[in-house]
């Protein structure tokens, strides 16, 4: 399914007629400064989408999650493009979460997309990665947090804007250790992605000295997620589920599938803090982050979209801005030059996180501070003070170069 982006065409026409008028009016000056050709840069956006169930109504993903961030970045790129004679547009294509991404992707290439923002599953992403490489197309992954995509399945033409599960888990573990809350119990869901997040938390514990004193899997028995009478039952269920756990400081929850995690805080047998996919959550952005100029990003996003900016919106914004930054600096639309520039020491992108963001050259993962927040505010930002690194403190989060299994090809 392909959805056109309303307004883009109108904006383009408007822009074009403006250019014509200006050159008419200032005919004399055009001689001195030859009229520059406007370079058009099409950015594709391929996403897997289907309405999703969540435990809390507040967590229902907006219909344009991610896409809205890309749209705002297109606007930002075009404001800059006025001065560099570049015009950006976004081409959004949707597939089903378990659907075939190859056909849709080939359609995008046929339309001339050379830069594709991908919000897909790891499997879908891998299915298009090599086709993209052979056609000289760059992919910017904003959806899949799988470490495998940056490790054994890494690709030379796939840049990862979304943080990995291991980056998120490390960010959380550093904070818990700084707070001197080292004893954890781990509750994880029964789906594959829950197991992967649990793995990342176990790895983080080993890395930063946390103790996972007990683990329990919460089986998805397929009961209704939201029911009118569910609250009493859930209160009892979680309490009983956590009754037999040994002494601990923090309950870690790994429930990406939205089966039980949201129900853990305040319902445990002993009064303990909750972190992971519920309670204190690690992510690449927070709708209340206003530090480092973030307030400007938040108000710009709110004004355009009439909702708050979520992590995927920020990842998509950053992806489109990375292409914008590279086209501005390389003064063109040569995918090879842009790819080389993004990989070079000169590249960085600012995304309201207090420092410049760059790519890890060995696996093309974007280095970034991770925000730790609850439902209302940003609690802390990792890396935490004191976690040192010879290259960048940001590399204390996630798989580092000496451990990488990636060989870019």
């Amino acid at each position: 399914m392909t959805s056109a982006v309303p307004g883009t065409l109108a904006a383009f026409l408007c822009f074009f007629s403006l250019t014509v008028n200006v050159s008419d009016a200032t005919g004399q000056e055009t001689v001195a400064k030859p009229e520059k050709k406007i370079i058009e840069i099409k950015i594709g956006y391929l996403r897997a989408y289907a309405p999703q169930l969540t435990l809390s109504m507040l967590d229902l993903p907006p219909r344009d999650e991610g896409v809205a961030g890309a749209e705002v970045a297109i606007g930002d790129n075009n404001t800059t493009g006025k001065f560099t004679n570049q015009k950006f547009s976004l081409d959004v294509t949707e597939v089903k979460p378990d659907g075939d991404a190859v056909q849709a992707f080939e359609g995008m290439i046929a339309k001339g997309d050379r830069y594709v923002v991908a919000d897909l599953s790891a499997k879908q992403l891998l299915s298009i990665a090599d086709i993209a490489r052979d056609k000289g197309v760059l992919i910017f992954n904003v959806g899949a947090t799988d470490d495998s995509l940056r490790e054994e399945d890494c690709r030379i033409n796939v840049f990862h804007i979304a943080p990995t599960r291991s980056m998120l888990a490390d960010a959380l573990a550093q904070y818990l250790m700084v707070k001197k809350w080292p004893n954890w119990v781990l509750l994880y869901g029964s789906h594959e992605q829950d197991h992967l997040y649990a793995d990342a938390l176990r790895r983080a514990a080993t890395r930063f000295g946390g103790q996972i004193v007990a683990e329990k899997e919460f089986k998805d028995t397929g009961t209704a997620r939201r029911t009118d009478t569910g609250a009493t039952q859930i209160q009892q269920q979680i309490s009983v589920f956590t009754q037999d756990l040994p002494e601990h400081d923090v309950v870690l929850v790994a429930d990406e599938s939205e089966v039980f995690g949201t129900y853990v805080p305040y319902r445990t047998w002993t009064p303990r803090l909750v972190a992971g996919t519920a309670g204190l959550v690690a992510s690449s952005w927070h709708p209340a982050s206003e530090q480092w100029g973030g307030i400007q990003m938040q108000s710009r996003f709110l004004k355009t979209t009439s909702r708050r900016m979520l992590s995927k919106d920020m990842s998509a914004w950053t992806a489109v801005r990375a292409v914008g930054e590279a086209t501005t600096r390389t003064k063109g639309d040569d995918a090879k030059k842009i790819s080389d520039y993004i990989r070079s020491d000169d590249f960085s992108v600012a995304a309201f996180k207090g420092q410049k963001l760059t790519f890890r050259k060995w696996n093309l993962q974007l280095r970034q501070p991770i925000l730790l927040g609850d439902t209302k505010s940003v609690v802390s930002t990792s890396p935490q003070e004191g976690y040192l690194h010879q290259v960048s403190e940001l590399d204390t989060l996630g798989v580092d170069q000496p451990e990488t299994k990636c060989a870019l090809k």
């Binding site: 930002d76 404001t79 800059t80 006025k82 001065f83 560099t84 100029g293 400007q296 108000s299 710009r300 004004k303 801005r321 930054e325 501005t328 600096r329 960085s348 992108v349 600012a350 207090g354 420092q355 410049k356 403190e393």
Partner: protein
């Protein structure tokens, strides 16, 4: 006010050892919606004035009679009478004014409207908007050439310095600098514009005739992570020989020799040093330190910090009376 300033001048003349002369400094405090009035001779707070919401950019009329203050969250510029310290009027700034610069003839105020990607030119006398000039994303830094003919605006997300002809209000040149440019300052002879890049961590020196970057200045402070060095405010001495750059969360001000572009010294000041201003006699430089809620007085003869003074919450900008 004139009488009082006069009295201070006489008083200060008697204490030549004092690094600061008798001027009045005005500090905008972003978080508690106040402006602190400071006597630069005694280095004491004279008064705290309630102003609009989120006061940031601050400047003063050339005769010293009025302070202009960006009340960012009120979408206005407030005019404060320096004699009475009362708000006597407003200027139509456009939304979210953050920083501005007054033309050398004192007639036009150029304002960066951060949310709207615009620079607004305002006639101070008639309080009318003269022009709205589209620039890059998140315009912030504003500098004007000593002859008043050229205005430079920097846009944070676009990472450019936009050169604007003040006669036609047209953008004539765009110079790419490093990431998140925050401030633009002309050298007193108008030959160069210095632009700080907060996230890039550099200062770009742009040749005003060629409109291109001729030098990029880097910073390194022992024991500090490179990411904490975030250049923001710039002040260049009247003789053009020294440039002072506020390095934000690095808590230091860099002193740069403008001939060699070498950083000759890093002065430790307060936390998150943001902007700075010279006293008219050039003997003292005052910095605003946002996170430690104070300002630091630097003796420019020795480039040593002399004293810090607590002001309001999150001091942002500072301007000093011309006499």
């Amino acid at each position: 006010m004139q009488k009082r300033a006069c009295a201070f001048a006489i008083l200060a003349a008697g204490f030549t050892a004092s690094p600061a002369s008798a001027y009045t400094a005005y500090v905008s405090n972003e978080k508690d919606n106040t402006m602190t009035v400071v006597d630069t001779a005694t280095m004491q707070v004279v008064k705290t004035v309630e102003v609009g919401q989120r006061p940031r950019g601050i400047t003063i009329s050339h005769d010293g009679k009025f302070v202009y203050l960006c009340a960012s969250d009120d979408d206005t510029i407030q005019i404060i009478d320096t004699a009475t310290l009362e708000i006597v009027g407003t200027l139509p700034s456009g939304p979210d004014p953050e920083l501005f610069v007054l033309s050398p003839d004192g007639k036009t105020l150029y304002v960066a409207n951060e949310d709207d990607n615009l620079v607004t030119a305002i006639d101070v006398e008639s309080k009318q908007v003269l022009a709205e000039i589209p620039v890059g994303v998140e315009p912030e830094g504003m500098g004007v050439s000593p002859d008043g003919k050229t205005m430079v605006n920097t846009s944070e997300t676009t990472s450019m310095a936009h050169f604007i002809d003040t006669g036609t209000h047209e953008v004539t040149d765009n110079v790419l600098v490093d990431t998140r440019p925050r401030f633009a300052e002309f050298k007193p002879d108008g030959s160069q514009v210095w632009v700080s890049a907060e996230v890039g961590g550099t200062v770009s020196v742009i040749d005003n005739a060629k409109r291109e970057v001729v030098k990029k200045i880097q910073f390194a402070i022992q024991g500090l992570r490179a990411e904490t060095i975030q250049p923001v405010g710039i002040a260049i001495s009247a003789d053009g020989k020294k440039a002072y750059v506020a390095l934000g969360p690095a808590n230091h001000v860099a002193v740069i020799n403008t001939d060699t572009y070498e950083v000759e010294k890093y002065i430790l000041v307060g936390q998150r040093v943001w902007h700075l201003a010279f006293t008219p006699d050039q003997k003292t430089l005052i910095t605003t330190n946002g996170n430690s809620n104070d300002i630091t007085f630097i003796d420019t003869a020795t480039d040593e910090p002399v004293q810090s003074l607590t002001v309001g919450q999150q001091p942002w900008g500072v301007v000093i009376s011309p006499k």
